[in-house]
Symmetry: C2
Subunit: 361 residues, 2 copies
């Protein structure tokens, strides 16, 4: 496991404060928007309470990386923090619409937006399908988060030069997000992909979206040098992959009491995640037959999940993925060691590498 140097512990308090301030900014902004657009209407939909609730309670990883990227070249700045927080609204956009597409009923310990709107529709005794209305409404709430993200960015208080530097990465990130989600839908529907396919999706989707682009975005806003941006991109790509591999391990081996999801959630959903694909590639003839059989099981109960987990562990996939994560983190930290960075930023990047890959949820 990667060990966080003692020198970095001061960053923990800084990162926690950053996350709290982001949460406050985003909540206040969305509350204002809801007041502007939703109150005083004849039919007061769940938007009024659900949207401000929805935007809090996340990990605020993307704003954290964006603001840390900013701090690689810029001073502490409330405006830059608001600009970074715009990525959390982008994330909310993705979550609201992904939950519709994946049919996920819960999000962050609460019913998903489409479920809330469907229940409201039933309670109001409106005509037509409540489920259909709920899905359409959740898509629209996602659209609003996407619109509001841009509005928060452009109203952040950063000057026009900074905004113009940040826009290309911001636009790239947003297009990649939608294109990546389409790729996910295509992949979900296909036969088990190869390890190379999985790593490609992981790189494009999580690697770029969660760590690399947010860091590049913040660094671009701050006007960092090409050298620094390249180092951050390398760190971000590697750490983003490691982040997703950890996610995939938790999706199979995570403790439901900690993750808040059912045990072996990814197995139940037959998700072709990295650890599942790696297990098949590493499996011997007998193990592969066992995996194929489990994959074909019509009902996946706790017993099937337990056998599946044991078989994945027996192939060595779990240990190997842990090694791959460690390797990615090591190389990510090496990349940022190559360039001069402000102490605060370098230290935060070290702590974040641990947080993204040593977490239990």
């Amino acid at each position: 496991m990667t060990v966080i140097p003692a020198a970095a512990t001061g960053s923990v308090a800084w990162l926690d404060a950053l996350r709290r301030r982001c949460g406050t900014d985003v909540h206040a902004f969305v509350t204002d928007r809801v007041r502007e657009h939703f109150t005083g209407r004849a039919a007061e939909t769940p938007a009024v309470t659900a949207l401000p609730e929805f935007v809090t309670g996340g990990k605020f990883l993307r704003p954290t990386f964006a603001y840390t990227g900013w701090r690689c070249g810029g001073p502490e700045s409330a405006a830059a923090l608001r600009a970074a927080a715009s990525l959390e609204l982008l994330h909310c956009f993705a979550l609201a619409q992904d939950d519709v597409m994946d049919g996920s009923a819960r999000r962050r310990g609460r019913p998903s937006l489409h479920v809330l709107f469907a229940r409201w529709h039933e309670g109001q005794r409106l005509g037509g399908s409540a489920a259909r209305f709920g899905e359409s409404a959740a898509v629209l709430m996602g659209d609003l988060f996407l619109v509001w993200s841009g509005q928060l960015l452009h109203g952040s208080g950063l000057d026009a030069g900074a905004l113009a530097r940040g826009r290309p990465v911001y636009d790239l990130l947003r297009s990649e997000l939608a294109v990546g989600q389409l790729g996910d839908l295509v992949n979900d529907a296909r036969a088990l992909p190869s390890w190379t396919d999985v790593v490609d999706v992981v790189r494009r989707k999580s690697g770029n979206y969660t760590v690399r682009r947010p860091l590049e975005f913040g660094a671009a806003l701050a006007g960092c040098s090409a050298e620094v941006i390249t180092a951050l991109a390398t760190y971000g790509g590697l750490l983003g992959e490691a982040f997703q591999f950890r996610d995939d391990l938790l999706g199979v081996f995570g403790d439901p009491a900690v993750t808040g999801k059912p045990a072996g959630d990814d197995l139940r959903e037959r998700k072709a995640s990295s650890v599942v694909v790696l297990a098949r590639e590493l499996a011997d003839h007998r193990q592969r037959a066992g995996l194929t059989e489990l994959l074909a099981a019509t009902e996946i109960d706790d017993g099937v999940v337990a056998r599946w987990r044991d078989l994945i562990t027996a192939t060595g996939a779990r240990d190997q993925l842990e090694k791959i994560i460690d390797d990615r983190v090591r190389r990510a930290l090496e990349a940022i060691d190559q360039v001069p960075l402000p102490r605060q930023a370098a230290s935060a990047l070290t702590v974040l590498a641990g947080r993204c890959t040593e977490r239990a949820r």
Copy 2:
């Protein structure tokens, strides 16, 4: 009917050229984005051909109003034209997602995006529901149009000052669009609303979205005076309503050979449109009983549509709505007569008032 002054005929050529240039700009921009994000992937989805096709063939009304708003204070400008064209991508976003929510199988004489993606899914023999995949994919394509709209605006070549002036209207327009669509979904599901309710929805949705906000947006980009912007807002609100009333008349009385939609399309969909609601308000006791009976018909065939049309005409709703349209257009033109406007812009606004309200499709 409103008569277009002979002096305005020079504007017709100008407006046609404007529309062609917008079409070219938007098509080229989307072709570039598709090339950037979709080509060279293992699974080449319909996006590659469908997205550039989708963005052409519209009326380009919103960019036309935006650019005309710009011309109220700014010179001819390729950059301003690109900024105005960004509203067409916003419109494509709305169309792609509305078609999913309304279950509309066709758009602009072609299959809707969700239908194209569902067919592709079937052709590729992927697992899971093709219809579901099609809907998710179309929502994502809508998201991309929304993202690309902002990208086209910010990369238009307008200076930072102009963009900063335009942003607030741009953001307002986008939020109103999503909130208005939610209102539509709620209204569709309710019992027949009152005339006041209908006019309120028409004002917020079409009045603002199609004419008023695009005009305000262009005028803000150009830095027009508050006096000019107020006059454009009045014109835009009134003309937008008239535009929607014409749409509603066509939805009941339009010629299928010209509109490209089935005869009495809005009746078949039981849409609580302005003309339907007005008919109920104007109906005598016997007529109202007839309307209630038709509204309850389980199957709406050509015979039912014909009887419904006759009944609506008999209530006087058709004639009254024509008078309301004429009144709105007259007051819209009066509003812009009160302020000094460049001849080209004033003349274009006069032609557009006719085009929006005298059209047959």
